[in-house]
């Protein structure tokens, strides 16, 4: 060991020359993972620190469709020092002829319990909302601009006029509110009373934010609340997790980006492996000499393992430095882009995680070439065996590589907490590497065949290129693997992104309605339909009664205990009723009830969701509607296509079951695009309480949100590609010696520089295009899998994205190849060839 150490130290005296690619590959991969992890930790710390402000209180009880009952209210007051009441709903803000969808929040005078509302011009929220001649209101600048409002102007919500006192720059609890389709308007609860918007049956949520005595046991309080009001539809949240939606989102996105980072590290690993192989090729003589002098294979392995180990530590260290400093340096920029608070500082956790990933990856990828180095025979001194091909290391080494890979994957599962995603990504990377390795082999065999075929005879540049691609040694495997994996990640992201965008922006609008109308009162419905039908360009109008209900029990047992955390059971869902079977309802099981059915309540349930919940015909569900429990029996299952954006309900009850429950109607209206504007003006003037949601606007909002997501993912994929390009440059640089020699020989036998250059360019382009082709296959496969199994949407092959990837691959490879073509072309043959004699 000590001899190995001394020899390794002597060898390292040469410094880092020849190891820059090694270091860059490792450092880039580690830095990307460390940076993503640090940003995630920063956001999580921000959410935790400002949990109460984001939630709007230490704890919050929320109801849908109703305010708290006397009993609920007095219990809340008994546990809290202060209780602040707010109401939240969608509505239309109107100013003159302009109207816009807005998310209204009515607040009491305790609002906000925590944090601060920032207004422009600066003033406190109480005086901004107080009643003078009119009650006051504030709204986000984007809405005020859309309505053409300036501070001091008036606007209407429902039938109530408000004076715009200021623009809403920031509300402390916006991040906890989730995804809203409209900009925010804040008014007082009292001001809303005359608006006619909060009536029985209209859709609104109420929140009761609590300021709790210091030292309150949040967990005990949550249990108490849930035991006491288990089935009243009360939803409890507290500051331990003030924005569960965002926390979950950040967690998932973070995990996903770390996995993208891991694929970058895998690409980097290939570069590391290639760098080590190329370094060892240069050391063939040294190794053979050491063997001649009596060094065993084990000593040789140890000598170079020590060297590579030290270099790995340096590479990982550089990566950690970069990954830790980048979020710190860019902290203010990142925070400005985030809708949530973030605390950027040094987080050891993500750095340790990135370091472990980096070291494991380095180990996995260097053992292969190192294991082969120890098999070099002393006879290598006397015979040129540099181009030894891809022989396998001995089995103990393969076992170690497999074990380290398993540890890496297990850690990825553990750290990310998303086992399916992690295993999927790991499987994807391993499969991609395997496919790429096989493809590299196939490409070599085909190139070799083609080089010998009559087709290319007389085309020496092409045959030389094919010969180089197909011949022994060469960079075929390393270029196809590294560039191929980088491009595969990019192709996958591209395929998924384009498919998702298409699903939203192209497929849907063809069948989607122009508007959803919410909160149409019973007595308004006939007039609404009449006026709407009288408008030009209006097509079909569908309406349905609309209530909200929470499934609390399944066959008498608490629903979540039976079916787990399914989205149907999370909060309230839309419920409707129908006497006869709707035309569009296609039953998969059971039968519809007779038109005049008045027996015990029955329900028609969505087939797919029913199956996910494990429901069968005859099961009994308890649905809490407006605080009243209704026990319904499943009469049939029916196909529900949520993708068509029409009116879809998971549950349709028989008419008698909901008779008498106060409710409103929902309508979908199909119209030509040109008719949409006048239609909206006419209908919202006639029915000020009715809320219109433009489907086009909604789609734009969703597209924007997805665009941000796609951008984040693209950055991750770009990091992988940059690593791939570095590996490519490394491969090109490593191949320079070989090309200098080839060029010298070719010049000797009469090839001009133009021909040599053409041959070099051709081989680079062939390799790049092949890597691109494999990437398309891999990307299409992964894209299909993600769209089908994760997004549950249709997949269609995206040709443009694919072509971009192939040509991108060819160009990248070409550029890297040409960047290193000068030395071979410029070298004098005599000097090159004599130096090898």
């Amino acid at each position: 060991m000590s001899a190995a150490w001394r020899i390794a130290r002597r060898e390292l005296r040469g410094g880092l020359r020849g190891f820059y690619i090694f270091l860059i590959c490792l450092a880039l991969g580690v830095a990307a993972i460390a940076a993503v992890g640090s940003v995630r930790a920063g956001i999580e710390a921000g959410l935790a620190r400002e949990g109460a402000a984001i939630l709007g209180g230490d704890a919050q009880a929320e109801f849908t469709y109703r305010f708290a009952t006397e009993e609920e209210r007095s219990w809340l007051e008994s546990v809290a020092e202060e209780v602040s009441e707010t109401v939240d709903f969608r509505s239309m803000a109107v100013a003159g002829n302009e109207r816009g969808l807005t998310q209204v929040r009515g607040v009491d005078d305790l609002y906000p319990l925590y944090g601060e509302v920032v207004l422009d011009p600066p003033m406190d929220i109480a005086s901004a909302l107080e009643r003078r001649a009119l009650p006051g209101g504030v709204m986000q600048p984007v809405l005020a601009a859309r309505l053409g409002l300036r501070v001091g102007d008036t606007f209407t919500l429902g039938t109530q006029q408000f004076e715009l006192r200021a623009l809403l720059e920031r509300e402390p609890d916006s991040a906890g509110a989730g995804f809203g389709l409209g900009p925010r308007t804040l008014v007082t609860l009292e001001g809303l009373q005359e608006s006619g918007l909060i009536t029985a049956g209209t859709l609104y949520d109420t929140q009761y934010r609590l300021r709790l005595p210091a030292g309150t046991d949040l967990e005990a309080l949550e249990n108490a609340a849930e035991t006491r009001f288990a089935e009243s539809g009360l939803r409890w949240q507290d500051s331990r997790n003030g924005a569960p939606g965002i926390a979950r989102f950040v967690d998932r996105l973070g995990a996903f980006l770390v996995l993208v980072g891991l694929s970058g590290l895998a690409v980097g690993g290939l570069g590391v492996s290639a760098a080590v192989r190329s370094y060892l090729e240069g050391k063939l003589d040294t190794i053979a000499t050491l063997k001649t002098l009596g060094a065993t294979g084990r000593v040789i392995f140890t000598v170079y393992f020590i060297q590579v180990g030290i270099l790995s530590l340096i590479g990982v260290g550089l990566g950690l430095l970069l990954g830790a400093l980048l979020p710190l340096a860019l902290g203010p920029v990142i925070e400005a882009q985030l809708p949530v608070p973030a605390v950027f500082t040094l987080y050891p956790g993500p750095l340790v995680e990135a370091a472990i990933y980096g070291l494991l990856t380095a180990a996995i990828f260097v053992i292969w070439p190192l294991a082969r180095a120890q098999d070099i025979r002393a006879a290598g001194l006397f015979r040129d065996i540099a181009g030894g091909g891809m022989s396998l290391p001995r089995w103990p080494f393969l076992l170690v590589i497999a074990a380290l890979s398993a540890v890496l994957i297990a850690l990825a599962v553990l750290f990310s907490g998303a086992w399916a995603l992690s295993l999927g990504a790991a499987g994807g990377i391993i499969a991609a590497l395997a496919i790429l390795a096989i493809m590299a082999g196939l490409v070599r065999i085909s190139a070799r065949r083609l080089a010998r075929s009559r087709v290319v005879r007389g085309r020496p540049a092409l045959r030389l290129a094919l010969g180089a691609v197909g011949g022994p040694g060469g960079e075929t495997a390393s270029v196809i693997l590294s560039l191929g994996l980088g491009l595969t990640v990019l192709a996958t992201v591209g395929q998924i992104e384009m498919n998702t965008r298409n699903a939203i922006s192209q497929d849907l609008p063809e069948v989607a309605p122009a508007y959803f109308f919410l909160d149409i009162q019973n007595d308004q419905l006939p007039d609404f339909l009449e006026i709407a039908h009288a408008q030009d360009g209006v097509g079909r109008i569908d309406t349905a009664p609309m209530l909200r209900g929470i499934v609390t029990r399944i066959n008498g047992q608490t629903a979540r205990d039976v079916a787990g955390d399914h989205w149907i059971l999370r909060g309230d869902r839309g419920v409707t009723y129908a006497a006869s079977q709707p035309e569009s309802a296609e039953l998969t099981q059971g039968t519809w009830w007779p038109d005049d059915y008045t027996g015990p309540p029955l329900v028609s349930f969505a087939a797919e969701e029913g199956a996910e919940l494990g429901l069968s015909l005859g099961d009994k569900l308890t649905v809490n509607v407006l605080g009243r429990d209704i026990e319904v029996e499943i009469a049939n299952f029916r196909v529900v296509e949520f993708g068509d954006m029409g009116i879809n309900f998971v549950m349709i009850l028989n008419e008698a079951a909901l008779a008498g429950a106060p409710h409103t109607h929902i309508a979908t209206l199909y119209a030509e695009e040109a008719a949409e504007g006048p239609l909206l003006r006419t209908l919202s003037r006639a029915f000020p309480n009715v809320t219109a949601i433009g489907v086009r606007d909604a789609i734009t909002r969703v597209s924007e949100a997805l665009g941000g997501l796609a951008a984040a993912t693209s950055y991750g994929a770009a990091a992988t590609l940059v690593t791939g390009f570095v590996v490519l440059i490394g491969a090109a640089a490593a191949g320079t010696r070989r090309r200098v020699f080839e060029a010298a020989v070719l010049k000797t036998v009469g090839a001009t520089r133009g021909r040599i250059l053409a041959s070099f360019a051709l081989r680079s382009a062939i390799l790049g295009a092949m890597a691109g082709l494999v990437a398309i296959l891999g990307g299409a496969l992964a894209g299909w899998a993600v769209m089908t199994f994760v997004m549950e949407a249709d997949y269609s092959f995206q040709v443009i994205s694919a072509l971009t990837i192939v040509s991108g691959g060819a160009v990248a490879s070409l550029l890297a190849g040409l960047a290193f073509a000068w030395a071979p072309l410029a070298a004098r043959p005599a000097r090159v060839l004599r130096s090898r004699d």
Partner: protein, 229 residues
Amino acid sequence: MIDPVLSLRDAKLALDANAGRVEILHGIDLDIRAGETVGLTGPSGSGKSSLLMIMGGLERATGGTVMALGHDLTALGEDALARFRLKHMGVVFQSFHLIPTMTALENVATPLELAGAADAFDRAEAELTAVGLSHRLDHYPSQLSGGEQQRVALARAAAPRPAILLADEPTGNLDGPTGEAIMDMLFGLRDRHGATLVLVTHAPELAARCDRQIRLRDGRLDTLSEAAE
């Protein structure tokens, strides 16, 4: 007198090394006639390989002129030199210098293809058969012995039927019997095609097979001797 195929006048070669400029050849005057075989000998570092390299245009003389078949090689550009070799010259090295990514057949066919020969592969095969390698056509250099590699190199140099064959210690890396066989082939090729052969060698018995021996010492011509026929 027949015009010389190779004619050097005051040919000089100086190279820049780390330690400064090194004068390698100091004004060589030399004529080689068509069909002649010439052995270049001399101690290590005397400049014999460098002299061969400037004759082949693989190294550019830094002074004087190097005329080959009436062309001044010192005035030709890199690509013009390549084209000149393609038409008129074959070179064999001590270390064979086959392209490792090509089979034996492909290595031999390459200059023929570069010359645009339609039957490049047939001729290459015939050439390899002539050196006894018809059973090694599809082998890569790494799969061949040293002697076999040198035979491929010979075939490659001879295939385009060059007027001038240059050989730089072609048996230097081979054992005695193998080296002898290679030399027999080299002289056999020369005899068949009537090329001019310039051969760098350390071995006196090889030099003795040439029509003429030229000895170099410190970058200068030392002795001119006509070998006894």
